[in-house]
Symmetry: C2
Subunit: 405 residues, 2 copies
DNA sequence: CGATTTTGTTCGTAATAGAAACAAATGCCG
DNA sequence: CGGCATTTGTTTCTATTACGAACAAAATCG
């Protein structure tokens, strides 16, 4: 039950039914391809005549294409339809603390080419580099298709509407606008989004057969800890663009210092830095700790490997992270009761070790057995969820439901 | 940007635009009444001819009515339109730990008659009493109009779809179905909902000129602590009906025992019981504490009054509640970043004392100044927000946006 | 009383969902 | 091998309805 916002409603016109049905059709093709017109008519419970008319429109606009006919037990063989994805390209960019990845991929997030370079913290130089690399990539692969936009994923808060990066502590960016500069430099539309939300969007739009559509939470446990929240198929951005910041909810008011300035935040207990600090067993300032890590080259992956090899201190460090992660997950479940939680980040490499631990904590800290049994799964290995998210930023709006009423 | 759910979409038909526009029109009348057809045409950016046709339909169905013409500076005087609310009645029922209130009210939640009785914990007897009182109320006020349903608000988790009360600890109800029995006993449709969500719905639908439509959180701080979360104009119920349970997120793993069985929950720090426990400075089990309170008749209102009178122990108890409440509010802000938070419950009587305290904590525990300045206001005094919520349960579905695409 | 202004109604037109008839393509079976 | 059944896809017709424009109604003002 939704209330109609009487200051910002969208009235229906004569062409509204057609727009709605066209989009439903397009999405059905997307999720059932290869699919015939007759199948679509059955799915939509509508006459085949209507389908012909809508399909012709989508074919003219080159949103879909006709493939080969396919064998059927009897009767005329159906002509299969597909969404055009292979020759519609996206430049997906993932900016992280140390490295930046660029992928030229198609609408289904299949990689055409990938590059990587050390993250440039000066916004001006960053913009120039992105523009140059984008132009080079597109020139090299001009035959693969037309590029429809750039998707940029950053580790920080973003104002979707204006495109400004409000605060990305890992880069030291505050109120920086790179979107418009990249857009005018490349002549391409640029979409920008913060990392956990982009990962959540990737799951909504590229998940197996759209099973993840409804309500779920994507939790990143990496340098930072954040959530992409999806409610009723829509992402929760928050009024001032800080929704999903479960990372800075305190677990323990007298806990370890956090980068945000407080004590005992979930992030201060479960981030990669926290696990490493626990392993090294040193009380250093975040800056000193980073320096130590740069010098030794030690990563969470190493600690997980050592835990697997039986190193008692590594086991203790990882297990403690798992326990605190359980508190964070229980928090999310109590607050939102999602259908499932997807966890991403380096810590998922230790899944078989951490899962029983956080599951136990979740059981203790939730109110019902249903809630305690909320499915919690690791992000699938493979292509970076952030690059997939960046792709979706450009591709998904073409398939999204129309705003109505 | 919403994804179309390809398993549960709603196709548009030829009459879809009319349905949409009719509902927009109805809502515009609701929020702008008294309003003329010409005004509506301007609001909707549509021809007056269309409005005439839609208004005729709504007049025939008796959803709206024509009032008197009104003076205009020049030209033909406009005929004002109103939503029919005064003769469409709802029986609103608010079940609390000790007392149950019944209100016969109109669609705008104006009271026609109110009753109150000690809460009956036996479900069978409860149902019989409700049926008898409802019948009597309706017989007495039969001239006031037709009753369109019963709205029932309970302190616990509810499955909206089946109508079952899954768990209401204050009443000791687990998996109890009173809805169908009341419905068949009275011949009226019954809507049932948990208290914080009902309060949130009341704000969405009866708030000043619909200003609260978008994203906000209603937090009840009473015997329990819970939240009604509204995102994108829709309530968050959660996958297994336990959304918004911020009350059982731990603030401090070594804190006081909570009714839920854990330690250190927000509820264990901020509920009425917690404040009273702190004031009495006794470590009693919840059962013993309830007995003491029943004997002494002491309420949170009394403690607040004593704090106002300068009682140091009362001041300390209330101030501590305010500090913990600040942590809870910061948690909500970090998680969801709503446009505002509305706080309901007995503690709001001490608003001028607690506000600066929790505001300070919120400032320390949030990430941006925008988030720190999230408006936090007390529930307006006056008619019980829960009775208003119960009314909305019946009235609002007639005005809600249609499910589409 | 006519001119002007504003409100509300009526009517013709164009767009389009829905239904039904039709055409095309294929396998089956005598 | 030629009807016949079956399934797919197209075309045609009709009823509905948003939209625009003309019209009627009701009021004020000079």
């Amino acid at each position: 039950m939704r209330k109609i916002d009487t200051r910002r409603f969208v009235r229906a016109t004569r062409s509204t039914p057609r727009e709605i049905n066209r989009l439903i059709l397009l999405n059905l093709v997307r999720e059932h391809q290869p699919v015939s017109r007759a199948d679509l008519a059955r799915h939509m419970d509508i006459g085949r005549g209507m389908i012909t008319s809508l399909v012709d429109e989508l074919l003219n606009e080159e949103a879909i294409y006709e493939g080969a006919t396919i064998d059927a037990p009897r009767g005329r063989k159906p002509q299969m339809l597909f969404v055009r994805t292979r020759d519609r390209l996206v430049v997906a960019i993932d900016v992280r603390f140390s490295r930046t990845d660029i992928m030229l991929g198609d609408f289904a997030a299949n990689a055409v080419a990938t590059e990587s370079f050390d993250t440039i913290v000066d916004p001006g130089e960053f913009v120039r580099t992105i523009i140059a690399r984008t132009k080079r990539l597109l020139a090299t692969h001009v035959a693969r298709g037309r590029c429809e936009g750039i998707g940029l994923v950053v580790p920080g808060m973003v104002d979707q509407r204006t495109g400004r990066i409000l605060n990305a502590p890992q880069l030291g960016w505050r109120n920086v606008d790179v979107r418009d500069a990249i857009a005018s430099g490349t002549g391409l539309p640029v979409q920008i989004e913060n990392a956990p939300i982009a990962c959540a969007l990737a799951h909504v739009w590229l998940g197996q057969r759209g099973r993840e559509a409804g309500d779920f939470v994507y939790m990143t446990v990496s340098d930072g800890v954040g959530c992409g929240i999806v409610v009723n198929g829509q992402v929760v951005r928050g009024h001032s663009h800080t929704g999903g910041e479960f990372g800075h909810i305190p677990l323990d008011v007298s806990g370890p210092r956090c980068l945000c300035g407080n004590r005992g935040c979930l992030e201060a207990h479960t981030s990669n830095l926290a696990t490493l600090t626990r392993y090294l067993d040193r009380e250093l300032s975040p800056e000193d700790m980073r320096a130590v890590l740069r010098d030794t080259g030690l990563t969470v992956g190493d600690v997980i490997q050592r835990a697997r090899d039986g190193d008692a201190r590594a086991i203790a460090a990882v297990d403690a992270t798992a326990r605190f992660l359980g508190l964070g997950l229980a928090m999310v479940i109590n607050a939102l009761n999602p259908t499932q939680i997807v966890v991403g980040g380096e810590i998922t490499a230790a899944w078989e070790r951490i899962e029983p631990i956080f599951r136990q904590v979740v059981r203790e800290r939730t109110l019902t057995t249903d809630a305690a049994d909320t499915p919690i799964r690791p992000e699938d290995a493979g292509i970076s969820p952030r690059l997939r998210g960046a792709t979706v930023l450009v591709a998904a709006p073409q398939f999204a439901a129309p705003r109505l009423a």
